[in-house]
């Protein structure tokens, strides 16, 4: 009967502790400097690579540790809670999410060729789905891969391709058949590729953005990129479906990252509220300061629990679409609210870069938009959980 158990395993607790220790060895000033100079956090990524964390979800047979979504989520949370923000977690996140479809659906030869180098951190990945004319509505992507003997030739354009400036490889979704090839099935006819990021064939143009200046997001122009047929992930024409079962983990990852960032901001705010004296009393004595922080804590706890429940369901092989979507929704709100309350607590200093909260506040805003917007999450819940008619 003792089925309900919220305890982490000893190993999970340990992962949390060690990731926290490693991540906290990079002080807030390190992240401030990355943001100010828009320089990639290589020292941080290498430290995580050396300690084996990048191979977390790669199976042991390919040189990784074969752990689950729960463990990866705990790692990403601790990185964010340590104050590294999206600047620190995105590069590590990219070792958790893009490899997933390869692990799940890739042919043996493809896995043997690439996964060991993913696990060691040698391969740096970007992930190309979103296009200028196809954001939320993925079926409308136009990037096309034309079969030519034992290879494909890809032409098209992707936007918001994060990490492209560093990437050695890309997980790329392209059409191999036009959208109307299978009437009523717009998601068929797309194919997933894992291939070398060939800079002779891909031009990268960075997008200036609100936060995370250190980790680039780009528009990329693909002009005659040649991809060997053995670099197709899974089956030709089934790419979208191969991607689909990795999207729930991605929601969990991004959700728990937002929670972690909220925690980092909250910790700063609590310290500040205790120390800042105005009208002869620490500002934290005012309930108008204390309550938003207390509420932020409660929301973060709830959101984290939802993330971990979704992760647990996934690791148990159970359906987790509703939970993953709800987790990402709650977490993006809770993370943002926590950062906002933290910024308000700091008064004018909240607006100053030196106090580190404004950076977290800018970064955490992303999670309400990407990888899937709050509206689209609610669309999913309305339709698939509540059974309401689809509105679009």
């Amino acid at each position: 009967m003792a089925a309900m158990d919220f305890a982490l395993t000893e190993q999970q607790q340990w992962i949390r502790k060690e990731v926290a220790a490693l991540a906290r060895s990079f002080p807030p000033e390190y992240w401030l400097e990355r943001d100010r100079t828009a320089t990639y956090p290589w020292e941080f990524v290498r430290a995580f690579g050396q300690a084996g964390w990048l191979g977390m979800i790669v199976p042991e047979a390919y040189g990784g540790s074969g752990l689950g979504v729960t463990e990866a989520a705990l790692m990403l949370h601790e990185i964010c809670a340590a104050g590294a923000g999206t600047t620190g977690c995105s590069p590590v996140h990219f070792y958790c999410f893009p490899p997933m479809p390869v692990i799940k659906h890739g042919a043996e030869a493809l896995k043997q060729k690439y996964l060991p180098r993913v696990a060691s951190g040698e391969i740096v990945m970007s992930f190309g789905v979103t296009e200028p004319n196809a954001g939320t509505d993925t079926s409308r992507i136009q990037t096309f891969a034309r079969r030519d003997g034992d290879r494909f030739v890809v032409n098209g354009r992707k936007v918001w391709n994060t990490n492209a400036r560093q990437a050695t490889h890309i997980l790329l979704l392209a059409r191999t058949e036009p959208r109307d090839a299978h009437p009523g099935k717009p998601f068929r006819g797309m194919t997933l590729f894992f291939t070398e990021f060939d800079r002779a064939r891909i031009t990268v143009q960075e997008i200036e953005k609100l936060g995370r200046a250190a980790v680039d997001s780009n528009e990329i122009f693909i002009d005659g990129l040649e991809v060997p047929a053995e670099n197709v992930v899974g089956e030709v024409g089934q790419g979208f479906y191969h991607l689909l079962d990795s999207l729930n983990p991605e929601r969990v990852f991004t959700g728990i990252e937002a929670v972690g960032i909220g925690r980092a901001a909250l910790a700063r705010a609590v310290d500040y509220a205790r120390e800042r004296v105005v009208f002869d009393r620490p500002i934290g004595k005012n309930q108008a300061i204390a309550h938003p922080l207390a509420a932020a804590w409660a929301r973060l706890e709830a959101a984290e629990m939802m993330c971990l429940k979704a992760a647990w369901l996934f690791d148990q092989g159970q359906p987790c679409g509703a939970e993953s979507n709800a987790a990402k929704f709650l977490a993006a709100e809770a993370g943002f609210e926590a950062c906002d309350a933290a910024l308000q607590t700091h008064g004018g200093y909240g607006y100053a870069k030196e106090f580190h909260v404004e950076r977290l506040w800018r970064e955490v805003r992303l999670y309400k938009i990407a990888p899937v917007s709050q509206q689209m999450v609610l669309n999913h819940l309305s339709e698939h959980v509540l059974g309401l008619p689809r509105s679009y």
């Binding site: 190993q11 340990w14 060690e18 060895s25 300690a51 084996g52 964390w53 752990l67």
Partner: protein
């Protein structure tokens, strides 16, 4: 070459220590426990010796209650091969000499070529166990070492100690006891594989009886712990700078008597 590392589990440096209801002890609830940082240098150095020689056996030893297993497991995750946990309520109040006697008994069972420990534990700062252990074993001891090199045949070890204005270099025959000073090395973080592998490594439980300690009564007993008196509040000298400086100098000379 077998190397034994003696480690102590202590409260995290960030802990705000509070004296418990029983004024002989500190409040332990809510404390995060870590390996004493100087002992981490010792673990790291032992691992480096092993790696440099391409072979060897690093055994971590600690004395303390159940929670100490966590510290031993951290040492195993860093790369130690085995651990010995001296875990016996009879030793709960052990002073440095009793701790050293227990460790000496473990050393005799394990017969390593080298023992490394931290220069002191950062909780009670006694700094006595390493030297006492060497004395009980009749082994040479070098404390607060900043560097070491074990010779190719593992017969001697050359160590450097920082002294005022320079480095003092010694040769010691092995077996010997060394204690680590900050600067000896930069301890590694455990790898994920190390963490996963640590579960499979042996932690041997040892009782006082297994060590034939005989009389296990400590000779040093804590009478009481007293908190420091609160710091008197600072004083802000108001007024024109010219006058304030005069007043400051006067106060430093006459009230504080520091100049």
């Amino acid at each position: 070459m077998k190397i034994l590392v003696a480690i102590k589990q202590v409260p995290d440096t960030a802990t705000q220590v509070k004296i418990s209801g029983d004024p002989k002890a500190i409040e332990t609830s809510g404390i995060t426990w870590i390996i004493s940082p100087y002992d981490e240098f010792a673990v790291e150095e032992a691992l480096r010796i092993k790696e440099k020689r391409g072979q060897g056996d690093v055994v971590a030893v600690s004395l303390g209650p159940d929670r100490v297993k966590e510290a031993l497991r951290s040492a195993l995750a860093m790369g130690a091969d085995r651990a010995v946990h001296v875990n016996d309520p009879a030793l709960a109040g052990a002073d440095t000499l009793l701790t050293a006697r227990a460790l000496a008994a473990v050393v005799k069972q394990e017969s390593p070529a080298l023992v490394i420990c931290g220069r002191q534990a950062i909780d009670d700062d006694m700094g006595a166990v390493g030297a006492q252990l060497a004395e009980l074993l009749g082994w040479p001891c070098a404390s607060w070492i900043m560097e070491e090199t074990v010779d190719a045949d593992a017969k001697t070890v050359r160590v450097g100690r920082q002294v005022e204005g320079g480095l003092e270099v010694f040769d010691l025959p092995l077996p010997a006891v060394l204690s680590a000073q900050k600067g000896l090395n930069e301890p590694r973080y455990p790898t994920l594989k190390g963490i996963m592998g640590a579960k499979k490594k042996e932690i041997k439980d040892v009782k006082a009886a297994d060590l034939a300690l005989g009389d296990a009564a400590p000779q040093l007993t804590v009478t009481t712990l007293e908190a420091l008196p609160p710091r008197p509040p600072g004083r802000i000298i108001q007024g024109e700078v010219k006058d304030a400086v005069k007043e400051l100098v006067r106060a430093l000379r006459e009230d504080a008597k520091v100049i």
